[in-house]
C-alpha cells in the first residue's frame, strides 16, 4: 500500500510534506490554542484563499505570477490580514470579537470575486479548498523544508518567551518581553504554516489540523511538554492515515485527515469523560 508513495516523485514529495505538516501544524496549534487564538487561524486560512485567488488572477496577465506557486501570495495576504484584524480590533473597541468574522467572510468574498474574474471555478479550486495529494513539486518541497526548519528553529529559540506570554501575559510584559513584536512574529509563523499546510489539507481544513489534535491532546496531557508530544503524535497519525486513505479511496486528503482527527478526538473525549468530574476539566 505504501509503496505507491515511493514509486512516483510527486507522491513522494507529498508524503514528505505531509510528515512535516503533521509536526508543524499541531506544534503551532498548541500555542494558538493556549493563547486563545484558535479563531484567528480560521480567519487567516480564509484570507489565504484571497491571496491565492489574487495570484491566479495576476497569473493571467503577468507571466511571473503564472509560474509562481500561488501559495506565496496567500502567505503574504494572511500576514496582511492579521494586521487588518489588529486594526479592526482598534476600530471596534467595544466589540473586539467582530474583527475575526469580518475578515473571515470578507476574505472569502473578495477571493470569490478574484476567482470568478480569473475564470477559476475549475477543479483546481477544489484542491485549494479541500486539499490535494499531488500538489507538491520538488522545488515546493525544498521551500517547505527550509520554512519548516526556520519555524522550528524560531520556536526553539523563543520557546521560553512564548510559553511565558501564553500563560501570564502581564507578568511577561513586566519582565521585559517585547509582547508586540513577539506576537507579530508568531502571527507571521502562523501565516507561513497555514500556507505550507494548505497545499495538502486545503484552505478550509488547515485550521482543523491546528486545533483538533491540540483539543484532543489537552484532555490527555498533564504538562505543557506532554501537550506538544501528544498533539504532534495525533497530528502525524491523522495526516499519514488520512493521506493513505485518501489516495486509495480517491477522496479529498484534507477531508480524510480531518475526519480521522475528529474520530481521534471523539475517542479521547469518550475515554476521558470520567476524568472531567475528578479533575474538573483541568
Amino acid at each position: 500500500m505504501i509503496e505507491v508513495f515511493f514509486q512516483y516523485d510527486f507522491l513522494r514529495y507529498s508524503l514528505f510534506t505531509g510528515i512535516l505538516i503533521g509536526i508543524l501544524a499541531p506544534l503551532t496549534g498548541v500555542f494558538i490554542v493556549v493563547r486563545r487564538l484558535s479563531l484567528l487561524a480560521d480567519a487567516l486560512s480564509h484570507i489565504t484563499l484571497t491571496g491565492i485567488a489574487f495570484s491566479l488572477l495576476l497569473g493571467r496577465y503577468i507571466n511571473f505570477f503564472a509560474v509562481l506557486n500561488p501559495v506565496y501570495m496567500g502567505m503574504i495576504f494572511a500576514a496582511g490580514g492579521s494586521l487588518l484584524i489588529e486594526r479592526l480590533r482598534h476600530t471596534y473597541r467595544f466589540y473586539r470579537e467582530l474583527a475575526i468574522p469580518i475578515i473571515l467572510s470578507s476574505g472569502i468574498g473578495v477571493g470569490v470575486v478574484f476567482i470568478s474574474l480569473a475564470d477559476g471555478f475549475t477543479t483546481d479550486l477544489f484542491s485549494y479548498l479541500f486539499g490535494s495529494i499531488a500538489a507538491i513539486s520538488s522545488t515546493d518541497f525544498t521551500v517547505v523544508l527550509v520554512l519548516t526548519t526556520v519555524v522550528v528553529a524560531i520556536f526553539g529559540l523563543f520557546y521560553k518567551e512564548l510559553f511565558f506570554l501564553s500563560f501570564d501575559e502581564e507578568q511577561a510584559v513586566i519582565s521585559g518581553i517585547p509582547r508586540r513584536s513577539l506576537h507579530f512574529l508568531f502571527i507571521l509563523i502562523t501565516a507561513v504554516v497555514i500556507g505550507i499546510s494548505m497545499q495538502i489539507v486545503g484552505i478550509l481544513l488547515v485550521s482543523a489540523l491546528m486545533t483538533l489534535p491540540v483539543a484532543a491532546a489537552m484532555r490527555l496531557a498533564v504538562s505543557f511538554k506532554q501537550m506538544f508530544l501528544y498533539s504532534v503524535v495525533i497530528g502525524e497519525v491523522s495526516v499519514l492515515t488520512g493521506m493513505f486513505a485518501a489516495f486509495h479511496l480517491d477522496v479529498a486528503p484534507g477531508g480524510m485527515i480531518v475526519v480521522i482527527n475528529v474520530l481521534i478526538l471523539l475517542i479521547v473525549l469518550a475515554a476521558t469523560s470520567e476524568k472531567i468530574v475528578n479533575r474538573k476539566g483541568g
Binding site: 466589540y95 467582530l98 473578495v110 479541500f130 485550521s207 477522496v251 477531508g255 485527515i257
Partner: protein
Amino acid sequence: MEIFQQLTFLERGIAAGLLIGFISPLIGAFLLVRRMTIISEGLSHVTLTGITAGVLMMQTSAFFAFINPLYTGLLAALAGSLLIEKLRQVYKHFQELAIPIILSAGVGLSAVMISIAETGYTEWYAYLFGSILTVTLNDLLFIFLTGVLSMLIIGFFYKELLSISFDQEFASTSGISVRKINFLFSLLVALVISMSMKVVGILLVGALITLPVAAAILFAKSFRHVLLLGIIFGEAAVLGGIVSSYYLNVATGGMIVVTGIIILMGAAAVKKLLPEGFFSKEETV
C-alpha cells in the same frame, strides 16, 4: 403562491436576495450584542455537511430522491448549534475552542462526501459561493417560509431575546427561561443560514450577517438603530451585489460581500470625517 410562479428566474433571485438582505442583519444585530457573530461562521460550515449529506442520500437511494438538500442543511445547522453548546461544557476553560472544532469537523466531513458524490463541480460551487440564477421556485418558497417563520419568532419573543442579549442574569431572575430562549435563538440562526445559503453561498452567509451590522454599529445610538441601519445596509449590499455581478459577470455571492465591505469602509470613513457627536443629534429623531 401564484405570484411566485409568474416570476422569471432573475426576478426570483432578486426576490430571494431582498428577503435575505432583510433578515440576515436582523439576526446579526442580536448576535452582535450577544458577542456571538462567530457562531454564524461555525454553523454555516456545518450546514455544508448537511447539504452534502442530502445530495449524497439523493444519489444513493431512490427513497431519498425527494429530499431538498436545503432541509438536511437546516437539520445539520441545528445539530451543530447543540453540539457547540455541548463542547463548550466539555472545554470549560477553553470555550472558544468549540466553534473551530465544529467548523473544521463540518468542512472535513463535507470534503469527504463531496469527493464521494458524483456531482459536477459547478453545482458544488453554487452551494459554496451562491448563485442567484439557480434559485428555483421551491427554493424561493423555502426562503419565504423560513423568512416568515423567523420574523414570527423574532416578533413574538422580541422582548425576551432582547433582555437575554443584554443582561442574561436579569433575564433569568425575571422569569425568562434562558435555556429555551437560547434554543430558540439557535433555531433562528440555523433558519437564517439555510435560507441565505442558496443566494450568497455557505462560505459567505456569515458576511451578510456580520458586515451590515458592523457598519450599523458605528453610527447607531440604540438597538433599534442597529436593526434599522443594518437592514438598510443589508438590502443595499444585496441589491448592489446583484446588479454589479450582473454587469461585471462575476459570482453574485462574492459581489454581495464586496459591496458589503465597501459600505463598511464607507461608514468607517464617514464616521472618521464627521465631528464627534454629529449623529447623536441627528439620529435621536
